[in-house]
Amino acid sequence: MSLDTVSLNLFIAGMVFLLSAAVLPLLFLRNGKRMLRYSSLISAFISCLLVVCASLPVVVYNLKIRFVIYTITYFFSITCMIDRLSAFFIILIAVVSLSVIIYSFSYIEHMIENIKKNMIVCLICFFIVSMIMVVISLNMFAFLFFWEIMSITSFFLVMSEYEKAETKKAGLFYFIMTQLSTLFLIFGFMAIANISGSYNFENLDGVSSIAVNFIFVSLFIGFGIKAGIVPFHKWLPYAHPASPSNVSALMSGVMIKVAVYGIVRYVVDIAQPPLWGGIFILIMGTISALLGVIYALKEHDIKRLLAYHSIENIGIILLGVGLFVIFTNYNLTALATLSILGALFHTINHAIFKSLLFMAAGSVVQATGTRNIEEMGGLVKRMPFTSSLFLVGAVSISALPPFNGFVSELMIFLGFFQSGALLSPILEILMFTCLSLFALTSSLAAACFVKAFGITFLAMPRSDHSKNAVEVKMPMLIGPAIPAVLCVVLGVFSSRIFTFLGFDLPIPDLLVISSIAIISAIAVIIIVKISGRTKYPVRIDETWGCGILSQNPKMEYTASGFSEPIMDIFKPVYRTHTHIEKEYSDKHNTLFQKGFAEIRLFEIFEEYLYMPIARFVMKISADLAKIQNVIEPDSYILYTFVTFLLLLIIGGWFI
């Protein structure tokens, strides 16, 4: 049995398990027994394992497995191909969904109605199936087919808490944006079908430039909307906080990566975008990264903060892709492989630490019952494991050495550094500014996560929710533990993995560095033990507060306090506007009675881009509806009369 038939059978077995996991809760929608959900989650777990071992050999030995699943009519057939790129993304999806499934074992039990619990389990399984199928579909029809299923299942998952008002807005925003992205995808695919004739993703390099540019722009916008690139990112900070945490972990960890898969597949396989295309991606990437992190700094809702960070990391991935395109246009293959590998490695890193962070945040939100970090604090003592997991996630997202975030950002940095001497001067200056903005982003991310971790977990609890928060149950710890371990493993063994896969990259071997670190740590501890033998044991005392008697939480730094200096430096970007209401006790407005003042952040994109279009469409529909609401027939017959006459006269002259 050759290797690819083995992996194919494993893959199909995995898919069958996953589908059965999805269908099972549907059959017994009303009964609340836990065993039903556990059995379906276990079968989903097994299927993820199967899928991982199915796609591992494909990545390592660069196989190409092509198979047809199902033909509805003779040209609408679901043909799939697993090659290295899609296998890599399958591993990404499977690993993250593995950990999310374990996490949901006990997370879902906290919900109230039984129907909702079963529905979420079923929808999550469908969601994972659709994402895996999108990644391996070769035929345009199959791609759109699963792309739409992915959007619809994730839409229903976002709407699972449909009672709240904010979920309504989030759901609406999300649905419209997904439909918009399908619209652009249809444009792009139709153009490809017109030029290349076949409905499969064929390579169309020898094609006239206008068509390729149009395809590139429409596909980029289509995938960009789903990935959450800046001008289209507005749905992300609404959809993720509204959906349950395990869903938002899946969505921001994996669904965004499927959109990135689309962009990478186009850039690498289908058609080589021109130089200006590369610059376009680079600029969009930098803007998304910068604005993503700057908006994250002002967020005090933990899940919105993480959502904005997904936008930032997508920007970083796009930087890598942009560099790849520019370098291939100057045919510097070594640098091109470095940057595309950096982008792909950052995709899987982001998938891992973002799902870790969302799951940890989910357990924190569930334990304290609120999403606002200003009301949290002191959780590190009450929830030690979750906080250490969150710490691992925070350290790896702010790209600090031993963890995986550092390696991928390092690769992109090296891409920038070594691009220096080889390109034209103007491009050189663009590279230089993008490098500085990228560096700014990663340092701001570090600052933001110090705030997020510090204010949420450290010091004293700021409200009684967080005072009596209690550590979550076992599955909700094992779930995030897997990505935490992966963060460390991928970080430390990164250069070993790359050499094993056959790429030699100029990145430092973190394995050697961390082993030396451990040796020196042991040495330091021994020296400190010997020299530091004191008579007095360790003493626990009051924090030194310049002489005040007892520390109370009111005196602690709040999240807005922490990030206020940075926000002050970046004031032009935030464009806050103050809103003051005053009430006077006399009519001459002289005796001030009471008032209300508020600094509100100006949602630039929402105010200037989305709302005007929405208001315009609503106005047209109101006018149209007004015309057609009249009951009497006269006006309608007048319309028909005029149309007949026009048709007749125009018909008479033209035909």
Partner: protein, 226 residues
């Protein structure tokens, strides 16, 4: 047959048909509307008769008798009976077009249709009178539609629809007669339509309960018939 000048009589009858149409457009008194409609149908029946004399095809004769029977006798009688129940005398208000402007519009209508059809006449070998007849037929239909949307009362809208029906009949007379069975079916269908439209028109003006009491005897009447 004696070959007295067909064209002269036909064009005279055309004028008469258009005059009755003008009257229907402008008259306020409903009863006079019905009489105008009856006269218009009479003229069209005569036109059919003359055409029969000219081309002596049997269908034309049957057609003229049929139109005479239904459009001059039965339908006006039915509408008058329904109208008596409704006790409405005058349809005063106009909608969108005052009488004068609706007349002007109908004139413009006739001219524009005449010219727009000019191109087709060439390859349809339609000569003189029959070309005029068919264009008048179509413009009569449009005038009927003009009546429907410019008058407020439902009963006048029904008369407008009947005028459109006459226009179609006129067009079919001159352009090409349809097989007889089809013509009969169309007339049956027209009667059914007028019956229901009249009942509904009656329903609009009276209160709901009255409408339902009126419907029930009608149901019984329908049941005895079949």
């Amino acid at each position: 047959m004696i070959n007295f000048p067909y064209e002269g009589i036909l064009s005279a009858l055309f004028v008469l048909v258009l005059v009755t149409a003008a009257f229907i457009l402008t008259r306020r008194n409903i009863l006079s509307l019905f009489t105008n409609y009856a006269m218009q149908s009479l003229f069209i029946a005569i036109i059919a008769l003359i055409l029969f004399l000219k081309e002596n095809s049997v269908t034309l004769l049957v057609l003229s008798i049929l139109t005479f029977a239904t459009r001059v006798l039965i339908i006006p009688y039915v509408i008058k009976k329904i109208q008596k129940l409704m006790r409405i005398r005058r349809d005063v208000s106009f909608h969108y077009l005052t009488p004068i402007s609706s007349l002007i519009v109908s004139i413009v209508l006739i001219i524009s249709i005449y010219y727009s059809f000019y191109k087709f006449a060439a390859n349809l070998s339609l000569a003189g009178v029959s070309y005029l007849g068919s264009t008048l037929g179509i413009s009569l239909t449009f005038i009927g539609m003009l009546v429907i949307f410019s008058r407020k009362k439902a009963i006048t809208k029904i008369v407008g629809y009947l005028v459109m029906e006459n226009g179609v009949l006129l067009f079919s007379l001159f352009f090409s007669e349809l097989p007889l069975i089809v013509e009969i079916l169309i007339i049956l269908d027209l009667i059914m339509l007028i019956l229901i439209a009249a009942i509904l028109a009656f329903g609009i003006d009276s209160t709901l309960e009255e409408f339902h009491q009126k419907i029930n005897p009608l149901q019984k009447w329908v049941k005895e018939k079949f």
